[in-house]
Symmetry: C3
Subunit: 354 residues, 3 copies
Amino acid sequence: MSVSDMTASETRPGDSRFFQRSGPFGLEQLAKASDSDVVAAASGKSVAAFRGVAPLHVAGPDEVSFLDNRRYLPLLAETKAGAVILSPAFSDKLPPDTAGLVCKAPYLAWARVATLFHPDPKSTGVRHPTAWIADDADIGENVEIGPFAVIGSGARIGRDTIVASHASIGQSVEIGSRCRIGAHAAISHARIGNRVTLYPGVRIGQDGFGFAVGPEGFETVPQLGLVVLEDGVEVGANSTIDRGSMRDTLIGAGTRIDNLVQIGHNARLGRCCIVVSQAGISGSTELGDFVTIAAQAGLIGHIKIGSKARIGAQCGVMSDVDAGADVIGSPAMPFREFFRNVATLRKLSRKSSD
Amino acid sequence: MSVSDMTASETRPGDSRFFQRSGPFGLEQLAKASDSDVVAAASGKSVAAFRGVAPLHVAGPDEVSFLDNRRYLPLLAETKAGAVILSPAFSDKLPPDTAGLVCKAPYLAWARVATLFHPDPKSTGVRHPTAWIADDADIGENVEIGPFAVIGSGARIGRDTIVASHASIGQSVEIGSRCRIGAHAAISHARIGNRVTLYPGVRIGQDGFGFAVGPEGFETVPQLGLVVLEDGVEVGANSTIDRGSMRDTLIGAGTRIDNLVQIGHNARLGRCCIVVSQAGISGSTELGDFVTIAAQAGLIGHIKIGSKARIGAQCGVMSDVDAGADVIGSPAMPFREFFRNVATLRKLSRKSSD
Amino acid sequence: MSVSDMTASETRPGDSRFFQRSGPFGLEQLAKASDSDVVAAASGKSVAAFRGVAPLHVAGPDEVSFLDNRRYLPLLAETKAGAVILSPAFSDKLPPDTAGLVCKAPYLAWARVATLFHPDPKSTGVRHPTAWIADDADIGENVEIGPFAVIGSGARIGRDTIVASHASIGQSVEIGSRCRIGAHAAISHARIGNRVTLYPGVRIGQDGFGFAVGPEGFETVPQLGLVVLEDGVEVGANSTIDRGSMRDTLIGAGTRIDNLVQIGHNARLGRCCIVVSQAGISGSTELGDFVTIAAQAGLIGHIKIGSKARIGAQCGVMSDVDAGADVIGSPAMPFREFFRNVATLRKLSRKSSD
């Protein structure tokens, strides 16, 4: 079967076998949830009950879709969606039977409307009979604990948190309320805030990579700090965050870390940073707030990255980066310089081979 | 103990404590299995029963070995193997007591002969008493389920599939027949074909990295697609494949993914692609068939890679790649251009420092 | 909460809720453990009982701290630590109430003093009632086995080893004494020495990435070797080591591997190598002793890296590296050449854009 053949047979988004569904909702409810203005369909057609979300080319009259990129305008022209979320710039392009939900931030509006139809799974409050929970663990109200999860001695878990199957919560670990701890997550030596999401297979709180050279090989330096994840942090599947050596490794509130990311001991990330998959942040490096680290970038240890700096994909950062700077390349340099270098080398190389 | 000392003490390949063994087999059986022609040993010596496979320098008279590279000809001259798989070009180099299994594709022949002696583990059909299986899961005939595995509500598993210890199969997940699901694999929101192999620790179907910027931080965009793995796909240890946002993330039939690979949401890989360890494919990027992505390469999102393209190790791909093209470097460029650049810069750099 | 605000509220290092504590110890005991000379406090003040370790700016009179970098001299001047480990060069900078533990290798001395106060967790010898242990597994004295761990048929585990929760030890696997096997580790097809530490989520012994191209797609080549980890090896969280195809994959004594590292089939690492996070070593590549591979570096297959070579971060190594060489860049080149290239290109690029 080729990739394109497969497209036809794929499941519709939000399939109820896999996803929670809510609704139906009226247009006014959707407008309110998404902070949008309603533009009625030109044909006067009106849909009473919207039942879900779908992309432009798939959506039907009782579904909501969205547009946030000029290059999908041809799909907008042909959509059968009952309503489309879009910016004022495109509202005059709506087909006659489609209402508009017009707003300045269509992607954010989309996030909210889609969440309305497909809310996050809520805790069932059920502790699976196969889970192993220490007698002195402090489990809040309505905490869901999955099969074969382990909750260690003295651990504390706040209300409405979900702990998935096979998760391992170590001794004295603190987890706040409304968290989602993914399957097979292993957490030790950590304090975790509220509304934190850990994806399957994250490893939090293991020893950092610390050792001294002794006469007969390496000798381990005890790693005596914790990992602290502030409120709203997300950590992607199979990512690893080592605990600090003499202070805590710290991830600031709202920061989102993707899959297969490595965070070394004593690192400190500020608020609302983004760390994309397979990036690595070495020990004791500090990030300000709203820093973006693109995929596969690597930061050496003991440097400082200023707030709102953006580190490009595969970038190798060997020294401090100023707040607001955009760098890329290995070693890192300003975006402009990097692409100028690329052009210069290409030119010289062609000349040289003439 | 030094590395070279260790060599002597190592286990022989295919140790029966660790591997299934089958046989013995006669030369004609081996020739048939490997689509080879038999060349009798020059000395007239004939071995009735071959008992296993081994490398040239280790194999004995009742073992089969193989040669597929000119640089190992000295080992061929000294081998004690009873038979050697090799191409016609080398068949006149066989030592006198060694028979030849001569064929055009020795490595493929080797794969088949080695599989004859060491077949894949078959399902025992045993459901371990500690596994937790939802009442409404649909488990086919002769499915093996390991200790502490979890099979969620409504999940379907086809006949002869093996689910190893601690695997977690989420609600409504579909898995075909003759699959091998590795230890600690976590699968949710997925449809998986037949003969799929997932290595330990793979994470399939978790949310993609999708969020909008709201007034008080990032807001999650619901990820409403699935992961679809077509027949024969393999996914290496601790690799991660995120589910799609509004369509499915799709891995085409026969594609092989190595360890620690990241596949972003909505990505589409064609048939028989190869993705080597620690490579990353960002969201919504599409690959044709027979594409090779070497180790640690990274592809940004929303690009297209044509069939049979080859992406070099550590390559950073920022734009579309034509079918059949070979690219390397960061940013990606044709192989020739990359190595010409390297040579040019070295020359200029030396001149500049004179 | 900003990152800097958080600092104030963080836990003290070695918090007894999370870490073993030992002591108190007198100054002479500490001097002996760390092979240091005591320099009495200038004020004549003497502390009878030291209770723990802490960084210079946090330590109190009954705590030991250390200094190994000139840039922290200002913190030394203001420390309230009762004793500080430091080199002879800085011993005259001690504040009046602080004793010195003076030695040539302060970081090593620190490792030993910190270990004195915070010894490694010892095996409790308890086999958790939920663990599943094959009848014919050979478990040594005083082995601790955590909840939901699985020990396969014929596996052997040496005395005083700790196997954490959810670990999966496959059929016939051998593990030596005084090892620590982390939570969710999956081990098959392996022989493991003494004092080996595996962090959570390591995958050891799965099939390497080996297949031949057949008429209808890829055909798997059986992987018939093992993984051998010699004494004292450490493998970081979520790292993966594939078993050999026809010989063993081998990690030499004392080698330390960080998180998210990939080691391909048949690779051989010598003694006391260091492999930093997210690095990858491809199949059949061989390292001598005391080789350092920095973060995110990648080595292609079938090459040799000489002893004491150092491979820089993100380096792409495509050919052999001499013993003692320092290389960086992709493709790898000597450090000097790499940085000269960077400077040359910058200069040419500026000129070209003038």
